[in-house]
């Protein structure tokens, strides 16, 4: 257990790759197709290494790399650091690299994608912070290690926060109905459009790490019962994919409305009640 978190943080691209590969298989099967092999993300990875990279300008490419390393670092800080809030703030920073990179090129799709990415941030981060606060209220600690050794089941105290979090996962992972910043049919991938070869690889892999990040948060909701955590993650995974496959893309007004007027109050209510119960009564 001692080195578990560190190992996960270091191996996160590989773990994330498997999750992503598995997801593609599940998605294909849900669409009644056979789907790619499980190792497909790694094949893509190798392929991208062998492609010539066309750089728009070096700053833009650097932002792509920065996004990857920042995301990786974010996960490490989140898992091994003393305070998950640090991880969440770093997460914003990592996305900021992507956004700046997106703004730095002339392509209108990239710029529009970056604008939409900011909207994503505004929807996602408040809820992530509420998740952190909720977990703190339940377990009394900001660190992942302590939360994971909490003997109770945080999800029992935080049902609404959990629901809010699950419903915002599509926005974090850019899945339907909230795949607005990537919107393949509208802006062809958004901020990532101008990356190619090796630099696109960085963006592509950073996405895998986000998977680990999301499912690590799901894990936190079950405290020390990691078997339950595994089951819960699988359930959430299936739910997210089925949702992805049974909805069409919302537009960004609808996403903001949903995140701020439905999910945020929901989560806030949960935390408010919990705080009252913990500290007042």
């Amino acid at each position: 257990m001692a080195w578990m978190l560190e190992t996960i943080a270091i191996l996160s691209p590989i773990i994330g790759g498997f999750i992503y590969g598995f997801e593609r298989v599940v998605k294909a099967r849900m669409q009644n197709r056979q789907g790619p092999p499980l190792l497909q993300p790694f094949y893509d990875f190798i392929k991208l290494v062998e492609k010539r990279a066309i750089q728009v300008h070096s700053f833009h490419s650097m932002m792509g790399l920065a996004f990857f390393f920042a995301t990786w670092f974010t996960l490490a800080a989140f898992l091994c650091g003393p305070n998950i809030l640090v991880g969440l703030f770093l997460h914003i920073l990592a996305l900021a690299f992507l956004i700046i990179g997106g703004f730095s090129v002339l392509s209108p799709y990239s710029v529009m994608g970056s604008l939409r990415e900011i909207i994503h941030l505004m929807c996602v981060e408040p809820i992530l912070i509420l998740v952190a606060v909720g977990l703190f209220l339940v377990t009394g600690s900001w660190s992942v290690r302590d939360i994971l050794s909490y003997s109770g089941l945080p999800i029992l105290y935080l049902p609404l926060v959990f629901i809010a979090f699950v419903l915002i996962i599509p926005a974090i992972l850019k899945k339907s109905p909230f795949d607005i910043s990537e919107a393949h049919q509208e802006i062809i991938g958004g901020p990532e459009i101008e990356y190619s070869g090796f630099f696109y690889e960085a963006i592509y892999t950073a996405k895998w790490i986000e998977y680990v990040f999301v499912f690590a948060i799901v894990f936190l909701f079950t405290g020390v019962h990691w078997w339950l955590g595994l089951a819960l993650s699988l359930l959430v995974f299936l739910f997210i994919n089925a949702l992805d496959n049974s909805t069409c893309r919302a537009n960004f007004h609808q996403m903001i409305k949903f995140a701020w007027f439905v999910l945020l109050p929901l989560a806030a209510l949960n935390i408010f009640v919990l705080a009252l119960w913990r500290y007042v009564i």
């Binding site: 197709r33 790619p36 392929k47 062998e50 010539r52 990356y195």
Partner: protein, 189 residues
């Protein structure tokens, strides 16, 4: 490397076809044929694509765009011409606004005949294209057919003068010149 051939991403461009073959390409992505099981994704973005799938005879207005898309795809890349009209011009051969097959402009690696090409034929053709793609590397330099003559002339001139030769740059400049000469009526950004 064997892993490479399992992940070809395609870019599809229609340069004046009747849609017949485009529809069949889309049908290939559907559940019945499911190209994704071979790792193939339809990327709408030339910068991340490997296989350039072209349909249709080249019309006068699409030729500059075709060249630009071709140049934007990073090496190694292969070009697949789908349908009779992309191979030779087919039913539209020698019409006044048509420049016939795609290989008048860019080097085509695989020709898929048929009007319309059957999805099975497209699958077979793409598999063939992957075999060709496997051998190419990121150092391979391909010269678009339209500028080949000029390219060779420029090259021999430069060699004669003892200048250092950057083939890629020469190609780039020549293509840009060509595109400028055949600029589309409406400019983008």
């Amino acid at each position: 490397m064997s892993a490479k051939i399992k992940s070809p991403w395609i870019l599809h461009y229609n340069c004046g076809s009747c849609n017949g073959c485009d529809v069949e390409i889309l049908a290939c992505l559907g559940p019945k044929y499911d190209l994704e099981r071979f790792g193939i994704i339809n990327k709408g973005n030339p910068k991340q694509a490997d296989i350039f799938v072209v349909t249709g005879p080249v019309t006068k207005r699409t030729r500059a765009r075709l060249l630009r898309l071709y140049m934007q795809i990073p090496e190694p890349k292969v070009v697949v011409a789908v349908g009779t009209c992309a191979c030779t011009g087919g039913p539209f051969r020698n019409m006044y606004n048509v420049e016939n097959g795609v290989d008048r402009f860019i080097p085509v690696d695989v020709y898929i005949p048929g009007c319309t090409a059957r999805p099975e034929a497209i699958l077979k053709g793409i598999k063939k294209a992957i075999e060709i793609w496997k051998i190419k590397t990121k150092e391979s330099i391909e010269v678009p057919v339209v500028i080949q003559k000029e390219f060779e002339e420029t090259l021999s001139k430069m060699v004669l003068h003892g200048q250092t030769v950057d083939r890629r740059k020469i190609i780039h400049d020549l293509v840009n010149k060509y595109i400028k000469n055949n600029l589309e009526v409406t400019k983008c950004d």
